[in-house]
Amino acid sequence: MSPHPERLFTRADWTGDRTLDCDVVVIGSGAGGAVTAAELAESGLDVILLEEGGYNPTETFKPEALRAARTLYRDGGGTVSIGNPAIAYQEGCTVGGSTAINGGMSWRTPERILERWYREDGLDDILPRDMDARFQRVEKRISARHQDPSTIGRDNQLLKAGADKKGWEVIDNIRNQVHCVGSNTCAFGCPTGAKQSTLVTYVPRALAFGARLYADCRVDKLIVERGHVRGVTGRVKRDDGGPSHRFTVRARAVVSSAGAMHTPALLLRSGIRSPSGRLGHNLSMHPNVKVIAQFDDPVEGWKGVHQAYQVREFQDEGFLFAAVNLPPSVLAMGTPMYGAAMADLLENYNNVLTAGMLLEDSVVGRVRLGPGGQPLPFYQMSDFDALRLVRGTALLCDLLFAAGARRIVLPFEGVADLYSPDDVRRLFARPIPKSAMEVVTVHLMGTAAMGGDPQRHVCDPYGKVRGYEGLWVADASLFPSPIGVNPMETIMALATRNAERMLETGAGSKQQ
């Protein structure tokens, strides 16, 4: 086990209630929070990073789904949005946030999105030419690059072969990794240390430049005094998740990087009211479905990198396809079957390829405050998006049959398995009810959007919360719209951009 990093504290370091002081307190150590903390600390500010999850270093990561769900995921992964269909969503709750459990796809924001944000959301300094240096800076830190070809497994080769046969555009993924060797357990924490999540990049960087990180510390409320946010209060979490010691952190600036569910919840339960009335609104989810394709020959998707390719042929329609290997337990959990039927499919586990389709959604939901001040997300998929989901799934099935699949299990309850390309047409024979769709997501965005319009945007164009002094947001909540690709790098580049502005405006500094 590597030594406990300096200035990193866990619940074991607490002996009683405490009050701490700093220039800037950052809540959450994921994509937005760790970047903000590192950039501000390096510029000489005294930064405290508070993280609700525990400190789980690389050496502790194991390919055990249930254990990972309990230790690395928020609420054991048992989080679901309310609506039709109910959408299971996942977030990290550990040092490194969701970056510690994500797939490592590292994509710049599509140019069309940056241009839209400039045109429609009043964001300056956001066009591709403005963002280029920020993307480069992030990519250098997290080592965003193509995969070593030898690590590309059979599942990805089949996906590419299918796309090639159809003549569809397929691209090599860019991932944040240093010689990833394809152990395909990214979602349980990378056990080789190859994935460059914030756990092994921006968090150690922040610590190296003097930041203090308190793991196991849940922020309950912001301290708000006459429109000025002056710090936070919270509780240290016990091993069993219950609250123990109380803490107060007094700071000149507070940055909420708790993610697109927990940032609006934290702000709302602290009494923050956005003049726009839109705090918690504008929730995008990139709904995602998975199909299971059975092949005659072994696939062994677990030997090889997670998502080596992305099929981008239908990006204009808002569809992305990828091979997304899942361990048997997670596969079995989500299949719409049980008993002998499930056994029949899973006995061939090494011959299946799991592929996913991500949809750029056209509607938004809302995060409200639920019992105990927890976020309660409402998201009603539109009929239009439900139809697109079926169309995208049908295209993905076409690809998989072209790759040689002989049976495809669908994420639509009550719809029979497909055995040939002709069967794919059956998908359109009668409407598939939304309630029959197995939809999941790991991309949550937009609930404290930034932009130039005080009527529409909770935050100003640089992430400062309108109507309050000393309060900033730096996470996926800031997105004015969904982006249609994996969001981590966008969050990091925006955090970099907004940290520049914080420094330039003296946020957190004594001369403020």
């Binding site: 249930l66 054991g76 080592s143 010689h179 219950g242 008993g339 002998a340 309630s435």
Partner: protein
């Protein structure tokens, strides 16, 4: 992070009986019902309280609703003969109410996940990630050690975002909104 949570003996009995229907047929031969129930318990401990309540309530309703189904002759789910359990489970699985179907899917999901995490089941399926990880991890360090160390150094190498010179020019033209 998990809250400690334990099924009552009745709930545990229902769950054990459900494993026989929800899991592959070898579950009884493996004698793993208790282990599955304990894993589900642990998983529920880390769930949000409302979800945990939902799952436990569904288990209880599932067990006792069987009593009013004519074919059960007044018996609870766990007291039904195996064929009766199969029929009752299938009827709930295909129930016309979405909520019932969702509850069934949720409970089956937890049970199936616990079953397929059992080491002997992984082994039977030929899913052996640990030796694979050990092999590729060692290969990575041997082949790319220098580059890995170089990147680790770069992670903490100074490269300030906004040079102090620009900070001293802090402008007042930046509007707070």
């Amino acid at each position: 992070m998990s809250q400690s949570f334990h099924f009552s003996s009745g709930q545990r009995r229902t769950l054990r009986a459900m494993t026989h229907v929800a899991c592959p047929p070898d579950v009884a031969a493996l004698g793993c019902e208790e282990r599955i129930a304990s894993e589900v318990e642990l998983a529920l401990g880390s769930f949000p309280p409302i979800m945990r309540f939902g799952v436990v309530a569904s288990l209880v309703i599932f067990e006792w609703f069987a009593v009013v189904v004519p074919a059960s002759f007044g018996r609870r789910f766990s007291a039904l003969p195996r064929a009766g359990q199969d029929r009752y489970f299938a009827a709930c699985w295909h129930h016309r109410w979405v909520l019932v179907r969702q509850a069934m899917k949720g409970i089956k999901g937890l049970i199936a996940m616990a079953y397929y995490e059992l080491p002997e089941v992984k082994e039977r399926l030929g899913y052996r990630p640990e030796p694979w990880i050990a092999q590729v991890k060692a290969m990575r360090l041997e082949k790319f050690g220098d580059e890995i160390r170089k990147h680790a150094q770069l992670v903490t190498a100074p490269d300030v975002l906004v040079p102090a010179t620009s900070l001293s020019r802090r402008s007042n033209d930046v509007t707070a909104s």
